[in-house]
Symmetry: C3
Subunit: 316 residues, 3 copies
């Protein structure tokens, strides 16, 4: 049996590529470490010296200001040096291969690569290639995984609900194209959530998704009924054009989260969204701005979770 | 009477959005604080620890390398962490609203937003929206205001002329489209300059500009005669195309600052310009490079003024 | 006789513009200083405080993520503040002259300008213009020079071969358009290498190149025979289109470095390349990934060499 490529020979985290297959203890360790960083952001001096002198490379082969910013802040609050590389506009266009680019940056003694790539699996390829002194964090690869998002979602759920083992969680929308959904499903099943549901039209749910341990709903009302957590997904406009979705209005009518629909969930249900939100497409403004939404807490916790991941990988 | 949105309940500066309506004492306090930072740039180690661990977000919804750079340097010399966000190419294109973007960044515990936006008033909207822990600095909004430019112009004038209460200042060129001109007019009238003039063709002076307390001249020679300070404005090429101006040559003939014209002002008059200069359009090279030009001193003082604004807002 | 514009009145390095004309002692001093920085990159905290509070401006008038990154890392590991300016997309488009841009940045108390420009000589112009407190490093200007590349190539050769005075070095490919080749030739002849060769088709060797003290070969096998060092140059695709080269396949057939050809050099010959490499155009993958290639060591040494140059210029 081959070793989990994310773990070193001692079973410690060497890379963070996907939540799938990560032991529960490692997830818990990340969440506990994140908890210890929460108050750093509230201090007068929002910095700890854990990664002083470390070089963190943000390798964004696909642009994402938002995700890049969260990693940049997390790394700077750990006192690391951050180098932003927008590779789309860089040496890739000069015909260099991905692995030659990585070799080159590794030779500059990079400690950490934060990788966003349009192709599923690219961060794996990089992780297999870099030496044992460097660490790779997947910041989103194709439709595959976005593990720090899954972790910050888990952190948020734990913060508000304490215990995963009694929860019903509905993941709503375009599950098919969503690395966020995949990562959250793996996190929840690993952490022991007994009732994970995916809710969406047939065209936007992957075939065989049940095999991930989730229940499938094509009806929104049934899907969110009595849930403790509703995790909305972002609808991407290009899907509309791709004819997988009829129109924004149609989608909102069937799967948009309105106050009326939210009332079907538990009274203390929380509403999550990875952002950026499309008001009036997947979520009604009254819900997005309402008391059950924890969307901005997710962002705050996301910084702490990324600090936790970076510092654990750095061996601190 | 509603409170000045830039001041907190104790009357201290909470945001810097415009010079209009700011009490004279606050302007003086900023200029005095800037004076204390002037020598930092001349030290061997050009840094003070006043903003260590603070997160300054440069939010540029309209590109401006020059202004962004001055704020980046000012913040780094105060030891802050700086995050540059070029929002034009970012989540705005994903359909997120401005205020959702701000909420998101606030949730990352931003301490300071430096905002450049093509729409007048955008920094106000942001200031009203952020929590009391965050501060907004307007780095130029539409035609409205560019308060740090007005402050650095004031600093420069005070440096060379000491006392505002005897000065004649001519502001020359495209006043209509100039946030720089507006901010300088408000600064000068607040600081007690008795003779502020705007000089330009009718098409480039705003209707009713006299109500700001300035005298209007359509003739350059008359406008700058016996002035202590000549503040040239940048002519923007797009105005030419927009038919508000005949041609660069025509403009220079009527309103360009030549050595001959400069001789009409006081012998010790200083010449200012916010940069970048158009040689041979609004200013002759002999003047731009001459002994009366203080254009580069403005840049130097601008760093100190921005350090002053950031550190005062940070409560230091 | 006019003074070397790179040296101050005491003969110390004031700017690094080209290797041509630099005294041998200065080259040796840079290489020795770089050697002292090699182990910084291997420490847990990869930083030294030599340039704390210094402002390094990366002025890239032509984009080069790779080179910019190496200078950014070098400066950050020296604890400097780094400001990245992509000037191509900046004020140059607003009609400002190059020297006005430089004056402006100098007025912000820049300590160091790292300049990449498409025009040969641009860094000279800047160096002549800045005051004595600022220093200019040429990071590549047109076809002219790329001195830190020549220095890191020299460092690499010294690391593997110890002594320059017995070496045969072949520089292979498009010498005509290569600033890398020019800088390496000047470095090698200054450091005493007795046999420097340039190898390439007539269309890609500059007329009169012999006058630089090199031997010319149009036949690859003859050119690399018994060499200690083979320095491959990058073939730029635009040359193909420009009809100076028949095709990638043709070029590889005549001048590509294959294992068979490499066997003609000394058994312990090293293979260098400035990157990014074109596999199958100028170099075979078996050579690029083989035991004689030192391409990634060049990158590692390049950081130390740039730290050496920056810290020497900063007077440390």
């Amino acid at each position: 049996m081959s070793r989990n490529p994310q773990l070193n020979e001692k079973g410690a985290l060497q890379h963070l590529l996907t939540i799938e297959g990560l032991p529960r203890e490692i997830l818990i360790h990340i969440l506990d470490t994140a908890a210890s960083f929460i108050n750093v952001a509230e201090r007068d001096v929002k910095k700890v010296p854990l990664m002083r002198g470390k070089s963190v490379f943000n390798l964004f082969f696909e642009p994402s200001t938002r995700t890049r910013t969260t990693f940049e802040i997390a790394a700077k609050r750990l006192s690391a040096d951050v180098i932003n590389l927008n590779i789309a506009t860089s040496s890739q266009t000069k015909g260099e291969t991905l692995l030659d680019t990585i070799d080159n940056l590794s030779a500059m003694h990079a400690d950490m690569f934060v990788v966003r790539h349009a192709s599923s699996g690219a961060p794996y390829l990089i992780a297999q290639h870099v030496g044992s002194h460097a660490h790779v964090v997947n910041a989103g690869d194709g439709r595959h995984a976005h593990p720090t998002q899954g972790l910050l979602d888990s952190y948020t759920i734990r913060h508000y609900k304490r215990d995963f083992t009694r929860l019903a969680v509905a993941i709503v929308g375009d599950v098919l194209h969503s690395r966020v959904a995949r990562s959250l499903i793996h996190a929840l099943t690993t952490l022991g959530a007994p009732d994970v549901r995916v809710v969406g039209p047939k065209t936007l749910l992957p075939a065989g998704v049940e095999q991930l341990g989730v229940r499938v709903f094509h009806n929104m009302d049934a899907g969110i009924r009595d849930c403790d957590v509703i995790a909305m997904l972002r609808v991407q406009n290009e899907r509309m054009r791709g004819a997988l979705l009829p129109s924004e209005q149609e989608f909102f009518k069937s799967f948009g989260l309105t106050p009326e629909r939210l009332a079907l969930a538990r009274p203390d249900a929380i509403v999550m969204h990875p952002g950026p939100i499309n008001r009036g497409v997947e979520i009604d403004s009254a819900v997005a701005d309402g008391s059950q939404a924890v969307i901005l807490s997710q962002v705050t916790f996301g910084i702490a979770v990324r600090m936790a991941v970076l510092s654990i990988l750095a061996g601190k």
